[in-house]
């Protein structure tokens, strides 16, 4: 019994260690990405500072579109916004559907199999905070 407990504690410790390294690595990558992005903005602004002519020339070139302004600017942004809203709406509906169906399904399965295990995910099918 004591040996079994030791093994379980050892496994829990190992899993915590592995998870800590993994989460640490991911956090470091996110931080580095964010720092690189900020550095990009900083260096770009520093390079452009005091060189208005060049910047003006570049922006004028971009603005001097042959296509209709409304067609060239408003349409892409509208499409982008509509697509993003559509994606977010679909996700919201999917989560709501999962919440409803999973509750019904698990309750019915429990009637047939009282010893049924649960995945312990949230009702919307997401990881619970204690498992992160």
């Amino acid at each position: 019994m004591a040996a079994r407990l030791d093994r379980e504690l050892d496994h829990q410790y190992r899993m915590r260690l592995v998870q800590a390294i993994s989460v640490g690595w991911q956090s470091l990558m996110r931080f580095l990405c964010f720092a690189a992005f900020c550095a990009c903005v900083y260096f770009s602004l520093r390079d452009l500072a005091g060189k208005q002519t060049f910047a003006d020339m570049k922006f004028s070139a971009i603005a001097d579109l042959k296509a209709n302004k409304y067609f060239g600017l408003i349409l892409p942004w509208t499409l982008c916004t509509v697509t993003a809203a559509w994606g977010a709406g679909e996700r919201y509906l999917r989560k709501r559907h999962i919440k409803r169906v999973s509750s019904e399904s698990s309750e019915m399965q429990k009637l047939l199999d009282p010893g049924r295990r649960s995945s312990r995910l949230s009702k919307k099918g997401e990881t619970t905070p204690e498992d992160f």
């Binding site: 379980e8 496994h11 592995v18 993994s22 690595w25 550095a39 295990r117 099918g125 498992d131």
Partner: protein, 189 residues
């Protein structure tokens, strides 16, 4: 100066793409994997419901525990955690009390009727495929290795089945043990 702005813009774009990947697409992949695992778990449940495999059968319970572990700890399955777990398992194998979870599950399944064995083997194979595909898609390095292995397999230089089994054994063990310990904690509580 012009080229430096282009380089910096490219770096910025790569960082933005990486953020989109980790905070958006990867979450979608995880949801996709869980959805597929839920489907497979329901196939297992249907086996129990039909009476072909009783709910209290140890093979049923073992596979159910494994699937619950994979569902619950699916977010932890990455190439990095796989590598670290492999190293830890290599150390644990030296222990005389080492338990091979996949082997135990296989043994429990081998005691079933031949037709049920085939169905259970399919359920396990599908489960492993789903997890491996998720792991490959969520890690560029692992995806590259998998692609290289596929090419080697096509050329007859590599037998990917044994590698696939080894990878699945590591994931199975971690998910199963984590889920079993959680079950024990709940029982004590």
């Amino acid at each position: 100066m012009q080229s430096s702005i282009y380089i910096l813009s490219a770096v910025g774009a790569v960082c933005a793409a990486w953020f989109l990947w980790t905070l958006g697409i990867k979450v979608l992949l995880l949801d996709g994997m869980r959805e597929r695992l839920f489907e497979i778990r329901f196939e297992l449940f249907r086996l129990g419901m039909s009476g072909e495999l009783p709910f209290d059968n140890e093979a049923f319970r073992a596979v159910e525990t494994l699937m619950c572990g994979l569902l619950r700890f699916g977010h932890r399955i990455t190439f990095l955690t796989f590598l670290l777990s492999s190293l830890e398992i290599a150390k644990a194998k030296k222990d005389k009390d080492y338990v091979d979870v996949s082997q135990q599950i296989g043994l429990k399944i081998s005691r079933l009727q031949p037709s049920t064995q085939v169905k259970m083997a399919k359920i396990l194979k599908d489960t492993h495929s789903v997890v491996l595909v998720y792991m490959a898609l969520s890690s560029l390095l692992f995806l590259t290795i998998m692609a290289a292995m596929k090419v080697c397999k096509l050329l007859g230089l590599w037998h990917s089945e044994s590698t696939r089994e080894k990878v699945s054994h590591v994931i199975d063990r971690e998910a199963y043990l984590a889920e079993t310990q959680r079950g024990m904690r709940l029982a004590v509580a």
